[in-house]
Symmetry: C2
Subunit: 213 residues, 2 copies
Protein backbone atom coordinates (compact mmCIF):
# COMPACT_ATOMS: atom_id res chain seq x y z
CA UNK A 1 0.00 0.00 0.00
CA UNK A 2 1.53 3.33 -1.03
CA UNK A 3 0.69 5.95 1.59
CA UNK A 4 0.80 9.54 0.43
CA UNK A 5 1.19 12.47 2.79
CA UNK A 6 -2.09 12.51 4.69
CA UNK A 7 -3.86 15.42 6.31
CA UNK A 8 -4.85 15.23 9.96
CA UNK A 9 -8.49 15.65 8.95
CA UNK A 10 -8.34 12.40 6.99
CA UNK A 11 -6.69 10.61 9.93
CA UNK A 12 -9.44 11.84 12.25
CA UNK A 13 -12.09 10.40 9.96
CA UNK A 14 -10.54 6.91 9.91
CA UNK A 15 -11.84 5.83 13.35
CA UNK A 16 -15.34 6.77 12.19
CA UNK A 17 -14.99 4.45 9.19
CA UNK A 18 -13.75 1.74 11.54
CA UNK A 19 -16.82 2.08 13.75
CA UNK A 20 -19.24 1.96 10.82
CA UNK A 21 -17.46 -1.03 9.29
CA UNK A 22 -17.66 -2.83 12.63
CA UNK A 23 -21.42 -2.23 12.66
CA UNK A 24 -21.76 -3.57 9.12
CA UNK A 25 -19.67 -6.62 10.04
CA UNK A 26 -21.90 -7.23 13.06
CA UNK A 27 -24.82 -7.29 10.63
CA UNK A 28 -22.89 -9.87 8.55
CA UNK A 29 -22.69 -7.49 5.60
CA UNK A 30 -19.81 -8.43 3.27
CA UNK A 31 -19.65 -5.59 0.74
CA UNK A 32 -20.09 -1.85 0.98
CA UNK A 33 -19.65 1.18 -1.27
CA UNK A 34 -18.45 4.75 -0.96
CA UNK A 35 -22.08 5.79 -1.43
CA UNK A 36 -23.25 3.68 1.51
CA UNK A 37 -20.36 4.68 3.78
CA UNK A 38 -20.90 8.31 2.86
CA UNK A 39 -24.61 8.10 3.66
CA UNK A 40 -23.97 6.44 7.03
CA UNK A 41 -21.33 9.01 7.98
CA UNK A 42 -22.75 12.16 6.43
CA UNK A 43 -19.90 12.48 3.90
CA UNK A 44 -20.23 12.63 0.11
CA UNK A 45 -19.23 9.45 -1.77
CA UNK A 46 -16.40 11.38 -3.42
CA UNK A 47 -15.10 12.42 0.01
CA UNK A 48 -15.02 8.75 1.01
CA UNK A 49 -13.19 7.74 -2.18
CA UNK A 50 -10.76 10.62 -1.75
CA UNK A 51 -10.05 9.63 1.87
CA UNK A 52 -9.31 6.04 0.88
CA UNK A 53 -7.23 7.14 -2.11
CA UNK A 54 -4.88 8.87 0.34
CA UNK A 55 -3.73 5.37 1.28
CA UNK A 56 -3.26 4.02 -2.21
CA UNK A 57 -6.29 2.05 -3.23
CA UNK A 58 -8.84 -0.07 -1.41
CA UNK A 59 -11.50 -1.96 -3.31
CA UNK A 60 -12.04 -1.94 -7.03
CA UNK A 61 -13.99 0.49 -9.20
CA UNK A 62 -17.54 -0.79 -9.58
CA UNK A 63 -17.07 -3.66 -7.12
CA UNK A 64 -17.11 -1.71 -3.89
CA UNK A 65 -15.23 -2.62 -0.75
CA UNK A 66 -14.93 -5.83 1.19
CA UNK A 67 -16.17 -4.84 4.65
CA UNK A 68 -13.90 -7.10 6.70
CA UNK A 69 -10.79 -6.36 4.62
CA UNK A 70 -11.38 -2.61 4.64
CA UNK A 71 -11.69 -2.68 8.42
CA UNK A 72 -8.44 -4.64 8.69
CA UNK A 73 -6.67 -2.24 6.31
CA UNK A 74 -7.82 0.88 8.18
CA UNK A 75 -6.93 -0.74 11.50
CA UNK A 76 -3.45 -1.45 10.14
CA UNK A 77 -3.06 2.20 9.06
CA UNK A 78 -4.10 3.31 12.56
CA UNK A 79 -1.56 0.99 14.17
CA UNK A 80 -4.31 -1.00 15.91
CA UNK A 81 -2.32 -4.22 15.80
CA UNK A 82 0.77 -2.82 17.45
CA UNK A 83 -0.27 -3.47 21.05
CA UNK A 84 0.86 -0.09 22.33
CA UNK A 85 1.26 -0.02 26.10
CA UNK A 86 0.24 2.87 28.33
CA UNK A 87 0.61 4.19 31.84
CA UNK A 88 -1.95 6.51 33.40
CA UNK A 89 -0.92 9.42 35.58
CA UNK A 90 -3.73 10.69 37.78
CA UNK A 91 -6.57 8.57 39.16
CA UNK A 92 -9.11 11.35 39.70
CA UNK A 93 -12.61 11.14 38.20
CA UNK A 94 -11.45 11.09 34.61
CA UNK A 95 -8.56 8.70 35.25
CA UNK A 96 -10.85 6.39 37.19
CA UNK A 97 -13.41 6.41 34.39
CA UNK A 98 -10.68 5.35 31.96
CA UNK A 99 -9.57 2.55 34.29
CA UNK A 100 -13.07 1.36 35.11
CA UNK A 101 -14.87 1.62 31.83
CA UNK A 102 -12.76 2.55 28.81
CA UNK A 103 -11.78 -0.22 26.42
CA UNK A 104 -8.13 0.43 25.51
CA UNK A 105 -8.18 -2.66 23.30
CA UNK A 106 -10.45 -0.78 20.87
CA UNK A 107 -7.27 -0.09 18.94
CA UNK A 108 -5.15 -2.86 20.40
CA UNK A 109 -3.67 -0.74 23.18
CA UNK A 110 -3.30 -1.80 26.80
CA UNK A 111 -3.22 0.14 30.07
CA UNK A 112 -0.57 -1.56 32.21
CA UNK A 113 -0.30 0.65 35.30
CA UNK A 114 -1.59 3.83 36.94
CA UNK A 115 0.17 6.34 39.20
CA UNK A 116 -1.22 8.64 41.87
CA UNK A 117 -0.16 10.87 44.75
CA UNK A 118 -3.23 10.17 46.95
CA UNK A 119 -2.25 7.51 49.54
CA UNK A 120 -5.85 6.27 49.67
CA UNK A 121 -5.76 5.37 46.00
CA UNK A 122 -2.24 3.91 45.90
CA UNK A 123 -2.41 0.13 46.08
CA UNK A 124 -5.96 -0.12 44.73
CA UNK A 125 -6.66 -2.11 41.59
CA UNK A 126 -9.20 -1.52 38.84
CA UNK A 127 -9.99 -4.21 36.28
CA UNK A 128 -6.61 -5.80 36.99
CA UNK A 129 -4.58 -2.59 36.70
CA UNK A 130 -2.72 -1.46 39.81
CA UNK A 131 -2.37 2.09 41.11
CA UNK A 132 1.22 2.86 42.18
CA UNK A 133 2.79 5.77 44.02
CA UNK A 134 3.84 8.36 41.44
CA UNK A 135 7.26 8.33 43.14
CA UNK A 136 7.74 4.90 41.56
CA UNK A 137 7.01 6.14 38.02
CA UNK A 138 10.58 6.60 36.79
CA UNK A 139 11.68 3.19 38.08
CA UNK A 140 8.62 1.58 36.48
CA UNK A 141 9.36 3.19 33.12
CA UNK A 142 12.96 1.94 33.26
CA UNK A 143 11.74 -1.62 33.73
CA UNK A 144 8.83 -1.64 31.24
CA UNK A 145 8.50 -0.82 27.55
CA UNK A 146 5.78 1.85 27.52
CA UNK A 147 4.59 3.61 24.36
CA UNK A 148 2.48 6.44 25.70
CA UNK A 149 1.36 8.19 28.86
CA UNK A 150 -2.23 9.06 29.67
CA UNK A 151 -2.29 12.36 31.50
CA UNK A 152 -5.33 12.88 33.73
CA UNK A 153 -3.92 15.08 36.50
CA UNK A 154 -5.17 18.55 37.47
CA UNK A 155 -4.20 21.36 35.07
CA UNK A 156 -1.58 22.78 37.42
CA UNK A 157 0.35 19.49 37.52
CA UNK A 158 0.07 18.69 33.81
CA UNK A 159 3.41 20.04 32.57
CA UNK A 160 5.43 18.66 35.50
CA UNK A 161 3.96 15.19 35.02
CA UNK A 162 4.52 15.36 31.28
CA UNK A 163 8.12 16.42 31.91
CA UNK A 164 8.62 13.32 34.03
CA UNK A 165 7.34 11.15 31.17
CA UNK A 166 9.53 12.96 28.63
CA UNK A 167 12.58 12.54 30.89
CA UNK A 168 11.93 8.80 30.82
CA UNK A 169 11.73 8.64 27.05
CA UNK A 170 7.94 8.67 26.67
CA UNK A 171 7.21 11.09 23.84
CA UNK A 172 3.53 10.38 23.21
CA UNK A 173 0.85 11.75 25.52
CA UNK A 174 -2.90 11.18 25.59
CA UNK A 175 -3.79 14.38 27.32
CA UNK A 176 -7.02 14.89 29.34
CA UNK A 177 -5.82 17.86 31.40
CA UNK A 178 -7.58 20.73 29.57
CA UNK A 179 -4.18 22.34 29.07
CA UNK A 180 -1.43 21.80 26.52
CA UNK A 181 1.91 20.28 27.43
CA UNK A 182 5.07 21.06 25.50
CA UNK A 183 8.65 19.89 25.21
CA UNK A 184 10.71 22.64 23.58
CA UNK A 185 13.15 21.44 20.99
CA UNK A 186 11.83 17.92 20.60
CA UNK A 187 8.95 16.44 18.69
CA UNK A 188 6.42 15.04 21.09
CA UNK A 189 3.02 13.66 20.18
CA UNK A 190 0.17 15.09 22.20
CA UNK A 191 -3.35 13.96 21.45
CA UNK A 192 -5.60 16.24 23.45
CA UNK A 193 -9.03 15.38 24.81
CA UNK A 194 -9.70 18.79 26.27
CA UNK A 195 -13.32 18.80 27.42
CA UNK A 196 -13.24 22.57 27.79
CA UNK A 197 -12.12 23.14 24.17
CA UNK A 198 -14.82 20.79 22.97
CA UNK A 199 -17.51 22.57 24.99
CA UNK A 200 -16.42 25.93 23.53
CA UNK A 201 -16.74 24.49 20.02
CA UNK A 202 -20.22 23.16 20.82
CA UNK A 203 -21.13 26.58 22.17
CA UNK A 204 -20.00 28.17 18.88
CA UNK A 205 -22.20 25.85 16.84
CA UNK A 206 -25.23 26.42 19.09
CA UNK A 207 -24.75 30.16 18.69
CA UNK A 208 -24.27 29.85 14.91
CA UNK A 209 -27.44 27.77 14.61
CA UNK A 210 -29.51 30.19 16.70
CA UNK A 211 -28.34 33.05 14.49
CA UNK A 212 -29.36 31.21 11.35
CA UNK A 213 -32.68 30.02 12.77
CA UNK B 1 -17.25 42.57 13.29
CA UNK B 2 -17.78 41.04 9.86
CA UNK B 3 -17.59 37.26 10.13
CA UNK B 4 -16.78 35.41 6.94
CA UNK B 5 -17.55 31.76 6.41
CA UNK B 6 -15.23 29.97 8.79
CA UNK B 7 -13.75 26.49 8.56
CA UNK B 8 -14.21 24.07 11.44
CA UNK B 9 -10.43 23.90 11.83
CA UNK B 10 -10.33 27.60 12.66
CA UNK B 11 -13.19 27.21 15.16
CA UNK B 12 -11.32 24.36 16.86
CA UNK B 13 -8.25 26.55 17.29
CA UNK B 14 -10.18 29.37 19.00
CA UNK B 15 -10.37 27.69 22.44
CA UNK B 16 -6.59 27.26 22.34
CA UNK B 17 -6.16 31.01 21.78
CA UNK B 18 -8.55 31.60 24.67
CA UNK B 19 -6.47 29.45 26.99
CA UNK B 20 -3.20 31.11 26.04
CA UNK B 21 -4.72 34.59 26.37
CA UNK B 22 -6.00 33.65 29.83
CA UNK B 23 -2.47 32.62 30.81
CA UNK B 24 -1.05 35.92 29.50
CA UNK B 25 -3.74 37.85 31.37
CA UNK B 26 -2.89 35.96 34.55
CA UNK B 27 0.67 37.19 34.08
CA UNK B 28 -0.71 40.75 33.71
CA UNK B 29 0.53 41.00 30.13
CA UNK B 30 -1.39 43.66 28.19
CA UNK B 31 -0.21 43.27 24.59
CA UNK B 32 0.63 40.30 22.42
CA UNK B 33 1.47 39.64 18.77
CA UNK B 34 0.78 36.99 16.16
CA UNK B 35 4.45 36.02 16.49
CA UNK B 36 4.14 35.43 20.24
CA UNK B 37 0.80 33.62 20.02
CA UNK B 38 2.15 31.47 17.21
CA UNK B 39 5.23 30.56 19.21
CA UNK B 40 3.19 29.66 22.29
CA UNK B 41 0.78 27.51 20.25
CA UNK B 42 3.11 26.02 17.67
CA UNK B 43 1.46 27.86 14.77
CA UNK B 44 3.15 30.23 12.30
CA UNK B 45 2.47 33.96 12.82
CA UNK B 46 0.75 34.06 9.44
CA UNK B 47 -1.55 31.21 10.51
CA UNK B 48 -2.51 33.25 13.57
CA UNK B 49 -3.18 36.38 11.49
CA UNK B 50 -5.16 34.34 8.97
CA UNK B 51 -7.28 32.77 11.75
CA UNK B 52 -8.12 36.17 13.21
CA UNK B 53 -8.79 37.64 9.77
CA UNK B 54 -11.60 35.09 9.39
CA UNK B 55 -13.51 37.20 11.91
CA UNK B 56 -12.87 40.56 10.36
CA UNK B 57 -9.98 42.23 12.07
CA UNK B 58 -8.62 42.21 15.60
CA UNK B 59 -5.75 44.47 16.57
CA UNK B 60 -3.89 46.84 14.33
CA UNK B 61 -0.94 46.21 12.01
CA UNK B 62 2.28 46.89 13.89
CA UNK B 63 0.55 47.42 17.25
CA UNK B 64 -0.33 43.83 18.05
CA UNK B 65 -3.34 42.71 20.05
CA UNK B 66 -4.77 43.84 23.34
CA UNK B 67 -4.75 40.62 25.39
CA UNK B 68 -7.92 41.28 27.41
CA UNK B 69 -9.90 42.58 24.44
CA UNK B 70 -8.84 39.72 22.17
CA UNK B 71 -9.94 37.22 24.79
CA UNK B 72 -13.31 38.97 25.10
CA UNK B 73 -13.72 39.03 21.31
CA UNK B 74 -12.91 35.34 20.89
CA UNK B 75 -15.16 34.45 23.81
CA UNK B 76 -17.96 36.39 22.13
CA UNK B 77 -17.42 34.48 18.86
CA UNK B 78 -17.58 31.20 20.78
CA UNK B 79 -20.83 32.19 22.47
CA UNK B 80 -19.24 32.12 25.92
CA UNK B 81 -21.47 34.85 27.27
CA UNK B 82 -24.72 33.16 26.30
CA UNK B 83 -25.14 31.10 29.47
CA UNK B 84 -26.17 27.93 27.65
CA UNK B 85 -27.89 25.44 29.94
CA UNK B 86 -27.35 21.69 29.84
CA UNK B 87 -28.78 18.45 31.15
CA UNK B 88 -26.64 15.34 31.55
CA UNK B 89 -27.97 11.89 30.67
CA UNK B 90 -25.99 9.08 32.27
CA UNK B 91 -24.19 9.32 35.60
CA UNK B 92 -21.64 6.56 35.03
CA UNK B 93 -17.90 7.18 35.46
CA UNK B 94 -17.68 9.79 32.71
CA UNK B 95 -20.92 11.53 33.68
CA UNK B 96 -19.85 11.60 37.31
CA UNK B 97 -16.47 13.06 36.39
CA UNK B 98 -18.26 15.86 34.51
CA UNK B 99 -20.53 16.52 37.51
CA UNK B 100 -17.78 16.34 40.09
CA UNK B 101 -14.89 18.06 38.40
CA UNK B 102 -15.61 19.71 35.07
CA UNK B 103 -16.05 23.45 34.98
CA UNK B 104 -18.97 24.12 32.63
CA UNK B 105 -18.57 27.84 33.25
CA UNK B 106 -15.33 27.76 31.23
CA UNK B 107 -17.47 28.99 28.38
CA UNK B 108 -20.34 30.37 30.38
CA UNK B 109 -22.40 27.18 30.28
CA UNK B 110 -24.22 25.61 33.22
CA UNK B 111 -25.20 22.04 34.05
CA UNK B 112 -28.65 22.24 35.62
CA UNK B 113 -29.70 18.60 36.08
CA UNK B 114 -28.65 15.01 35.52
CA UNK B 115 -30.72 11.91 34.69
CA UNK B 116 -30.08 8.25 35.40
CA UNK B 117 -31.78 4.86 35.43
CA UNK B 118 -29.85 3.47 38.42
CA UNK B 119 -32.07 3.83 41.56
CA UNK B 120 -28.97 4.14 43.75
CA UNK B 121 -27.86 7.25 41.90
CA UNK B 122 -31.27 8.89 41.53
CA UNK B 123 -31.74 11.53 44.23
CA UNK B 124 -28.02 12.08 44.80
CA UNK B 125 -26.52 15.53 44.33
CA UNK B 126 -23.10 16.54 43.05
CA UNK B 127 -21.84 20.09 43.44
CA UNK B 128 -25.43 21.29 43.75
CA UNK B 129 -26.73 19.44 40.68
CA UNK B 130 -29.41 16.80 41.31
CA UNK B 131 -29.69 13.39 39.68
CA UNK B 132 -33.27 12.64 38.57
CA UNK B 133 -34.96 9.52 37.27
CA UNK B 134 -34.61 9.49 33.47
CA UNK B 135 -38.41 8.88 33.38
CA UNK B 136 -38.75 12.52 34.45
CA UNK B 137 -36.62 13.85 31.57
CA UNK B 138 -39.39 14.85 29.17
CA UNK B 139 -41.37 16.65 31.87
CA UNK B 140 -38.21 18.44 33.02
CA UNK B 141 -37.45 19.60 29.47
CA UNK B 142 -40.98 20.94 29.09
CA UNK B 143 -40.55 23.06 32.21
CA UNK B 144 -36.98 24.31 31.64
CA UNK B 145 -35.21 26.10 28.80
CA UNK B 146 -32.32 23.78 27.99
CA UNK B 147 -29.82 24.42 25.19
CA UNK B 148 -27.94 21.13 24.95
CA UNK B 149 -27.83 17.59 26.25
CA UNK B 150 -24.68 15.90 27.52
CA UNK B 151 -24.80 12.25 26.53
CA UNK B 152 -22.74 9.95 28.75
CA UNK B 153 -24.72 6.70 28.59
CA UNK B 154 -23.43 3.33 27.37
CA UNK B 155 -23.03 3.01 23.59
CA UNK B 156 -26.09 0.78 23.22
CA UNK B 157 -28.38 3.41 24.77
CA UNK B 158 -26.89 6.42 22.97
CA UNK B 159 -29.33 6.75 20.07
CA UNK B 160 -32.45 6.09 22.17
CA UNK B 161 -31.41 8.75 24.69
CA UNK B 162 -30.55 11.19 21.92
CA UNK B 163 -33.96 10.52 20.34
CA UNK B 164 -35.62 11.46 23.61
CA UNK B 165 -33.71 14.76 23.63
CA UNK B 166 -34.57 15.44 19.98
CA UNK B 167 -38.24 14.68 20.65
CA UNK B 168 -38.17 17.39 23.32
CA UNK B 169 -36.64 19.99 21.03
CA UNK B 170 -33.01 19.66 22.13
CA UNK B 171 -30.97 19.65 18.94
CA UNK B 172 -27.44 20.05 20.32
CA UNK B 173 -25.62 17.12 21.90
CA UNK B 174 -22.28 16.96 23.67
CA UNK B 175 -21.60 13.32 23.00
CA UNK B 176 -19.30 11.14 25.15
CA UNK B 177 -20.72 7.76 24.09
CA UNK B 178 -18.03 6.62 21.62
CA UNK B 179 -20.72 6.27 19.00
CA UNK B 180 -22.41 8.76 16.69
CA UNK B 181 -26.04 9.76 17.08
CA UNK B 182 -28.14 10.93 14.17
CA UNK B 183 -31.49 12.50 13.45
CA UNK B 184 -32.40 11.87 9.82
CA UNK B 185 -33.90 14.83 8.04
CA UNK B 186 -33.04 17.48 10.59
CA UNK B 187 -29.92 19.41 11.38
CA UNK B 188 -28.66 18.46 14.80
CA UNK B 189 -25.39 19.58 16.34
CA UNK B 190 -23.31 16.78 17.76
CA UNK B 191 -19.95 17.61 19.28
CA UNK B 192 -18.28 14.27 19.89
CA UNK B 193 -15.74 13.50 22.59
CA UNK B 194 -15.16 9.92 21.51
CA UNK B 195 -12.24 8.63 23.59
CA UNK B 196 -11.89 5.62 21.29
CA UNK B 197 -11.53 7.75 18.14
CA UNK B 198 -8.95 9.89 19.90
CA UNK B 199 -6.94 6.85 21.01
CA UNK B 200 -6.93 5.52 17.43
CA UNK B 201 -5.56 8.86 16.20
CA UNK B 202 -2.86 8.81 18.87
CA UNK B 203 -2.00 5.27 17.81
CA UNK B 204 -1.61 6.44 14.20
CA UNK B 205 0.82 9.20 15.19
CA UNK B 206 2.87 6.84 17.38
CA UNK B 207 3.13 4.43 14.47
CA UNK B 208 4.00 7.23 12.02
CA UNK B 209 6.72 8.50 14.36
CA UNK B 210 8.23 5.05 14.87
CA UNK B 211 8.38 4.58 11.10
CA UNK B 212 10.19 7.86 10.65
CA UNK B 213 12.56 7.30 13.58
Amino acid sequence: MVIKSISENVIRRLPKYMRILEELENKCQQKTSSAELGKLLGFTPSQVRQDFNSFGSFGQQGYGYDVAQLRIDIGEILGCGRGYKAVLIGVGQVGLSLMESFDFSVCGAELVAAFEVDPEKIGTEHRGVKVYDVAELSAFLEDHAIDFGVLAVPKAQAQACADQLFANGITAIWNFTNTDVTEPGSKIISENVHFSDSLCVLSYFIKAKQKNA
